[in-house]
Symmetry: C2
């Protein structure tokens, strides 16, 4: 979906959020679904916003996903998005579906918009019915605002085992007008390609049709949210929703627009930044791992190899142990199922070359250990040297705390 | 490869081992490749034995695998098998291949058999050259014996992070003559379907042609060694080798032999028992997990679903935490990529039914926790109710110790 011209400058906005784009408000409140933390949030747009979404590939999909799909399919527009945490409303059968519909209709009434302008979603424990006695009065109290505090409250309301809030905003210029893309996300365990326990909501004031937005989002999701893995599990509830208010009032964006790339980059940087924050905040993680693969037969295979490496429990444990264990990396390359030449593989861990043409080179173990200990982001670079495909994937180290968290938490 | 008649009785032999079948001797010694434990072993057959093998599916294959393949391909016979632990001779390029050939020729000379009657293999650290100054004199000291102590020494010599020895023997009767199948294995981390860091060597005195043996082994491997997973990693060095001395002197076995099923079952039980021992001894594991899936569209899909469940870090952590978390089980079913009906899934954890038709049923959490705490083997039963396919897979729980072991050990 490349555009026709070079990208205009895209800059990150300090203290930007999902309410930076014109027309958006947000809020997060406490209703008691969770024990202590905020657990119900909403994003509201003052006009019907062009909308697009991608959903979990898990064959078991939670009830709210079905309801949200139905909303977006109708007209490609959303005006309100309501999310609860603490309960996923998944594996809850007919009753669960009724609850999701009720969550939508109560929200539609509260925000005074048609049902199909409302998206609903839930995250948390599977297999328990939504406590509608808390959700319904909760929705009726939602008063979104266009402040950073309100945006942060929304972010807090969608978290589960997350330890940090995940928010970002980029700006660029289209037809001489500033446009913003703001995003927020949750997700730390059950994270794998193809939408794992993660939710992400992106707002923008760009002017764009739903179908064009959908294609851009699908492409970008593959290179960002679908390129992270925490534990290889793919959850039942995940989705990414983008809402575009159109209030920036430039010419409608399509890939033919001379400044299309600026918008595309802003959306991609937003998604990539959120994806990396999710990977870094993987359950129990102490480090972000970024794997870059080049020289694959094509980009898709490069991405696949990168994800196999970053998904290997052995590689993840080695990073936690500050062990420059390239053997486990080449091993993951070998079982990736991708085309490789067993004799041409180069591997570097940060600045340290460890393997050239599949054979070990002498390197300073001390230097390697120092790199693995000191850096917040561990970079692994693999060159397969059989083609021009490149790809990236992100993950995190595997730690005692991952086990502790997941031996206890009932998802 | 079903036979034409019912299976004769197959019984486990107490204190049976790889030297129980007629014609076999074994030994394990210390050469200093490892710091302390035995690290070099051999199995020797007094006659050329019909042989078959399966190898890792990892595209990166260690040098000794290439040499062993070459040996077996020539005539389908082996007389000696020499293994070292402590060094995998993987990712060692031309020099590594030369070393593996030398390991073979020194062994051939020592045992006074042709080169192609010798299999060699190595397990341990990747990317370091074999210390031939220890391996060569080590081989020259190998004096195999037909005692259980010698078989145990062999077993010890092939271990890496294993905590228990893995040995088993079954007997049955063919044409009125007792035949035995004995097996030994190593492997605890990097274990995944399709041959992970595991080695297994099986001996038998049955009379069978190499090609028939190969077909039986390939089939059985899929249902046993390829149905276990510890951490999803598939190593560069794994193989299973079967040697059949033919000294039981019954009629040559083929699937048309009336007692074929007895042999097939003895071989399958040997492999299944070793596979389960490997899974149970997964790095840091405290429990064996056995997942049985029924009602899939076919056996292959049932096996795939079973392996996805048993391979889920979240399921493994939940078992470790004694948490009857069926949500994670159904989630793994959903992302298995197999055909399912999202509304017809039943899940039981041991004797406790937790889900019927994809909806939770009330069960005693207390009883469930007690089952998960008290049992050595945790059974998970999933019925997809869309077909007649059945399959099993084995794995282990994910514990703090897995992380501890793998944050430190340089494989």
């Amino acid at each position: 979906m490349k555009g026709t011209a070079n990208a205009p400058e895209v800059i990150e906005v300090e203290n930007g959020s999902i309410v930076t784009p014109k027309g958006f408000k947000a809020i997060g409140i406490y209703t008691g679904v969770k024990r202590k933390r905020l657990d119900l949030g909403a994003i509201f747009c003052e006009v019907p916003a062009s909308s697009a979404a991608v959903y979990t590939t898990n064959r078991i999909q939670a009830a709210p996903l079905k309801v949200t799909k139905e909303s977006i399919m109708k007209e490609g527009k959303l005006q309100a998005l309501v999310v609860n945490s603490g309960n996923a409303n998944a594996c809850t059968g007919e009753k669960g579906l009724e609850d999701a519909y009720e969550m939508r209709s109560v929200s539609a009434e509260h925000f005074n918009v048609p049902n199909h302008y409302v998206a609903v979603t839930s995250t948390g424990v599977i297999g328990q019915y939504l406590p509608m006695d808390k959700i319904v009065p909760g929705i009726q109290q939602l008063q979104p605002e266009a402040t950073i505090e309100a945006a942060e409250a929304f972010n807090e309301a969608i978290l589960t085992t997350d330890t940090i809030k995940k928010m970002v905003c980029y700006q660029t210029t289209i037809d001489g007008k500033a446009i913003s893309v703001g995003g927020v996300a949750k997700g730390s365990g059950m994270i794998n390609p193809n939408m794992a326990t993660m939710l992400s909501f992106v707002t923008t004031d760009a002017v764009i049709e739903p179908s064009v937005l959908q294609q851009a989002l699908s492409e970008i999701t593959n290179q960002t949210f679908n390129s992270i893995t925490v534990d290889g599990d793919t959850s039942t509830n995940d989705m990414v929703v983008v809402m575009a208010s159109g209030l920036a009032e430039h010419e409608t964006l399509t890939p033919a627009h001379p400044e299309w790339n600026g918008f595309y980059q802003a959306l991609k940087l937003t998604c990539e930044s959120l994806a990396k924050k999710i990977a870094r905040d993987g359950e129990g993680a102490t480090k972000l791992i970024e794997v870059q693969v080049q020289g694959a037969v094509n980009d898709e295979e490069a991405g696949k190899v990168a994800k196999k490496i970053v998904g290997s429990d052995l590689v993840k444990s080695a990073v936690y142990g500050a062990d420059a264990n390239w053997g486990r990396i080449i091993c993951a390359v070998g079982y990736s199922g991708c085309e490789i030449d067993p004799d041409t593989i180069d591997i570097a861990i940060g600045p340290i070359q460890t393997l050239v043409n599949s054979q070990p080179v002498v390197f300073s173990e001390e230097e390697a250990t120092a790199y693995l200990k000191d850096e917040e982001t561990i970079k692994i670079n693999v060159d397969l040297k059989i083609g021009n495909g490149t790809g990236k994937a992100w993950g995190c180290d595997l730690t005692y705390d991952y086990v502790r968290i997941n031996a206890g938490y009932r998802t």
